[in-house]
Amino acid sequence: MTGAWSLVASLTLLLVLVGLVLRNGALLAMALPYLLFSLLPFWQSRPRPDWKVKRELIPDSLMGGQPCVVKVELANRGKDLEEVFLTDLLPPDVSVEGNTEYYGPFRAGGVETLSYTVRGVRGRYEFPGVSVTIRDLLGLSRDEEILPCPGTLSVLPAADHPERMKLFPRRTRVFTGMIRSRESGAGVEFFGTRGYVPGDPLRHLNWKAGARWDLLITNLFEQERIADVGIILDARSIVEIQTDEDSLFEHSVRAAASLAQYFLGEGNRVALLVYGNYIEWTYPGYGKQQRARIMAALAGAELGEHAVFKEFGSLPTRLFPAESQVVLISPLRGEDVVPLRYLRGLGYRVLIVSPDPISFEKRLLPQDGFRELAESIARMEREATLAKLRRSGAQVVDWDVTGPLWLALKGAAAERRR
């Protein structure tokens, strides 16, 4: 029953009670229209609906910002319904274009289709079902029901395409790839010379060195192989800065997706560790399947504020193969220097991509003298932290998230060459 029915029924009872108390038949006569009105829902038979619901998501997996067309088809296999209100229940944080509701009569055997477009930022979006409200025309009775019609939309993080990067891990794997292995063999980069051994190809003879030493000298080339790359995404909420439309963590996720895609494209074995609420570990692997696994893990990555993972001291370094390349994506705090130095001391090559929190947060603050002072102090602290990490042998890329990632990586590579 609805609030409208309660109002009429209350007035009916009130009039009847007052009429009985005062023994006034006129009031009882006056109550009769109200009484018949409030008895109407009991007289009418309530239709028993029989629904068939089908949901279609086209496509059900896409990159952030891309549109997904949702089609929900409802078929009424029961009796005629006079007034039906259908709403497709939406997951939070999706933007919608189009109509997610239907209001009107629903004939027996009829089919209604709700069709609209949704866009998500990142993550798994669950569509629970369709809410159906059936009313009679007078609005005195109402039946509500949620028809389960689940659907899952996976929005993967959008990835950039970085230009070629040079990594120098201490140890590489046996398969041919794009990373210099510090071992001589088949390759294109000059590695060194040694005395000729029968069987060496004659085209590798170094004639100039031979003329100088009066010996046969062979050129050696550096083998290029694939390597193990471990990507660590910092998901500690302590380093997160969020605005209404933007989040520093989303930029970190995007950088992780871009780098994972790039390293896998080069044939490397890539693993992912999301470090925040708990240790979310994607085992090392190659190829397109691994790319899909990593993208799915990044799509579900969430910020965490677990006390154990507040510092990088709990970083599970043994998950990564010894002397491999580790790529850390983190805005960084001053306290992070020591654990990262330790990581470097264990023999890992460390590349740190650090989204700049100061330039990100600067936009949110009012323009005045205090902001400039605060910014210069924060900038000095950050520079000191980055300098400490660089001195310990880590490669640091300071990334202003308003610019593209590949530009920051290119700038860092040029700086390293100098």
Binding site: L11, L13, P33, L36, G104
Partner: protein, 165 residues
């Protein structure tokens, strides 16, 4: 079409209210009730919160004023007519809020449905007025009906109130 029927019903119930209350000397009550009914007939021009609360408020006030008119010696026929027309204008207002652009066949079906039940209600009410004084109500039946009605009323009121009251 429903909006015109609602306007006509509001205007008529205002008129019947004046016809009920003016003869018993309650000029202010009659005028205020008629003004409220006229306001309901033009409710489309009001802001949303007024549009939402005006129909139940007018129904409540019309009922109270009609009961007052009957108790002070007014003509019961007018009171029954006011009750029927108030119910119609209130329910038509609700229907318009729920479904502002209802298709014409749906409007016809709605008018047929509410017309049927109101005709029945008004017929029963007016017949009861005609038979007034021909029935004597036994005390125990009246007492039990009062008790059951009181319990139902309390339950209804407690269900209607928002949680936390």
């Amino acid at each position: 079409m429903i909006s015109w029927a609602k306007r006509a019903a509001s205007a008529l119930s205002g008129g019947f209210l004046m016809a009920l209350l003016f003869p018993v000397g309650s000029y202010w009550g009659g005028a205020a009730g008629a003004a409220l009914n006229l306001a309901l007939s033009m409710a489309e021009k009001f802001p949303y919160f007024l549009r939402r609360f005006l129909p139940p408020l007018v129904l409540l006030i019309n009922t109270v004023l009609s009961a007052y008119g009957v108790l002070t010696g007014g003509l019961v026929t007018w009171a029954v007519l006011v009750a029927g027309l108030s119910l119609f204008s209130w329910n038509a207002g609700l229907f318009e809020q729920r479904w502002p652009q209802a298709p014409l066949p749906v409007q016809y079906r709605y008018l047929r449905r509410i017309g049927g039940i109101l005709t029945l209600g008004l017929g029963a009410g007016l017949s009861a007025v005609g038979w007034q004084g021909n029935f004597s109500l036994p005390f125990f039946l009246a007492f039990l009906s009062m008790l059951a009605g009181g319990v139902l009323l309390l339950r209804l009121v407690s269900q209607t109130l928002p949680k936390g009251w």
